[in-house]
Symmetry: C2
Subunit: 389 residues, 2 copies
């Protein structure tokens, strides 16, 4: 399962003492032989960049896109921690490298949890020798558990690419938004690929997956997606398209799992915008609707009130003609040509009642399309986020 | 009080039957002698523009900035109602004009309430003769009551400009955001001013008032601010600065009243950003923080967790240096140079506990400044908005 499904990878997850309650909070993913393999990454665009992102970015640059291992901790984001935080991230990599017999630059590091609190680096480093010894080919699920924060369940995926496997794990339940989120994902594959191929495959996967989910419009300080390729599947170099397709399937799956587990969410909502003047307009419109507090409250109540949808579309900044817009919930058209459309009330009620709502908007202007996956806004989200301690 | 405080204006508020429960839902503000006076307006930037906005904009253009009366209804926004909705808005103006003895183009119209439902124009028009007869110099408070929707109290203001008075009323409790909101405001003055002076005074007042409040980031279909000047105070033409200052004070006051009455809010939060590279960067940063679901949840919990503030600042799009940012709540510095700052915990707890939170962010980069007034996100907001019926 998960990151150890592809050949050539081992993993482990355990508790090192960062989380007060003793829950698993340290994961290690490594190549089975300790050797560096091709790797690529996508990092947060947030300018308040967390220390582990700075360290991992520097390491990938230094190695030209190769890595032997990834250290991940939950419970502390090591963000807004200044020079001391960066030193802690680098020390973590060096300590892991010493255990694994690789160079410090060949170790990547990810952190997730509270921002602005110094990383308890001593217990983390002290746990690394034991973690390295416990690395196992069936350690994926334990690693997936150890990276969770407010998530209620682990997020794992395995995709058969046809001759190679892509495996992955992710965490993220709030601070989720296009252009990434408080989310971490580590993907592995046993395909034989170059760092450039891996980067291209990740770039291809982003628009429909991690860039197409939003819970609360927040783009966090720590967002990281990593992809390592062991080449252990045999069979020669993988094709660009086959790799991109498998990685996209894996990322789509993990992204959907994140929205399904969003903090307090009771409904997942797929917002599909068609007929926009451009793809950019479509993305902007879909995101505006998906992030609207008012629309999210309506979804929570199962209320098909489309007036808020049209209002958000009109304010989204893209081309908009109120006389051409149509809105449908679960295929039931509630607004046509910008005004209320007659519809079957009981079919509509059925479409709004379930845990999954399909919202289709057609702007009637062109061929731009975009889909965003989001969720409702509930008292549970507020309860989860009103206090950090 | 309110719109009838300046000389030369009369008003009325009553129930015409749009709201099912029989609550007041029709207001009329008019010049005492029925004659048109200089007028100016600011309308929503939402492209899903409601019919009454289209009608009022056309009327002001046709008259070159003069008006005799404003008809306002609550309970139905007459938005997303197509050509029929525009005909209803025009019919309302014509019916009021017939009662008041002015031209239809000299009547402006505002609606607020649910979107996408045909306006019950018959009861509205049927109530206009009685409303016109009941117009009175002390009718301001009744008019202010009749324009409310989810507001819990009327919003009125009177400002003494020194030789002239500015009076006003407003409504708005959600769908509130910079660049206006589901808000209506009618301001009157007995100063002698030209339409151009009135437009300039409104433009001067907007940045610190209605454009500086946000509840949920929504920009509605109906937002309208109107200003009419009777000239009845005597004393000759008003000075530009004196007029702008008085109108700004009135608008600031009404805007603050709207945030104080925001749906479900338990705390008003003043977000002040200084040290930005530009004023635009400052506004963007302040708005990003003020509209963050996560920050709003923290405020509800009285939690001074500043990691979310820094994360939003880093994602706001403007210039940002994580090593230069400082954050203070109620004057208690919790983050300095991008990392946690030692502080007195009990003073901080005190600053977070009250109904008013002062948040100061310094970006340490330049001289750009901006202030936004917002509120917390609470279960009450969700309860208010999860069902429209």
């Amino acid at each position: 399962m998960s990151v150890t499904a592809p050949k050539g990878f081992v993993a482990v997850g355990l508790a090192c003492g960062i989380k007060p309650g003793g829950a698993p909070d340290l994961a290690l993913v490594a190549t089975a032989d300790g050797k560096a393999v091709p790797a690529a990454a996508v990092f947060t665009t947030n300018r308040a960049t967390a220390a582990p992102v700075l360290a991992s970015r520097a390491h990938l640059a230094a190695t030209g896109g190769r890595a032997s291992a990834v250290v991940l901790n939950s419970g502390n984001a090591n963000a807004a921690t200044g020079a001391a935080g960066l030193a802690d991230a680098k020390r973590t990599c060096a300590a892991a490298a010493a255990e694994l017999g690789c160079a410090a630059e060949e170790v990547l590091v990810c952190s997730t949890g509270l921002i602005g609190i110094p990383l308890p680096v001593e217990p983390l480093v002290a746990a690394l020798p034991g973690a390295a010894r416990a690395l196992a080919a069936d350690g994926g699920p334990a690693a997936a558990l150890a990276i969770l924060t407010t998530d209620t369940r682990p997020k794992q995926v395995v995709v058969d690419g046809g001759g190679f496997i892509v495996g992955g794990m992710a965490k993220g339940a709030a601070m989720l938004s296009p252009d990434m989120a408080t989310m971490l994902a580590v993907l592995t594959t046993d395909a034989a690929a170059t760092p450039a191929q891996l980067a291209a495959a990740l770039a291809a996967a982003m628009p429909t997956s991690f860039h197409a989910v939003t819970v609360d419009g927040a783009t966090s300080t720590n967002d990281t997606v990593l992809l390592l390729a062991s080449g252990a599947a045999g069979g020669g170099p993988v094709g660009d398209d086959a790799l991109a397709a498998a990685v996209t399937r894996a990322c789509d799956d993990l992204a959907a799992q994140m929205v399904l587990d969003a903090e307090g969410a009771t409904k997942v909502v797929r917002v599909r915008v068609t007929g926009a003047a451009s793809a950019d307009d479509a993305r902007q419109a879909a995101r505006r609707v998906a992030e609207s507090q008012l629309c999210k409250c309506s979804w929570y109540g199962g209320d098909p009130y489309w007036g808020r949808i049209v209002s958000e579309l009109g304010a989204s900044g893209g081309a908009f003609d109120p006389d051409r817009v149509s809105v449908a919930y679960g295929g039931v058209v509630v607004c046509q040509g910008g005004v209320a459309a007659a519809h079957d009330v009981s079919t509509l009620a059925w479409a709004m009642a379930g845990p999954r709502i399909e919202l289709d908007v057609d702007l009637g202007l062109g061929h731009g399309e975009a889909t965003v996956l989001t969720c409702d806004l509930t008292p549970g989200y507020i309860a989860e986020n009103m206090r950090t301690s």
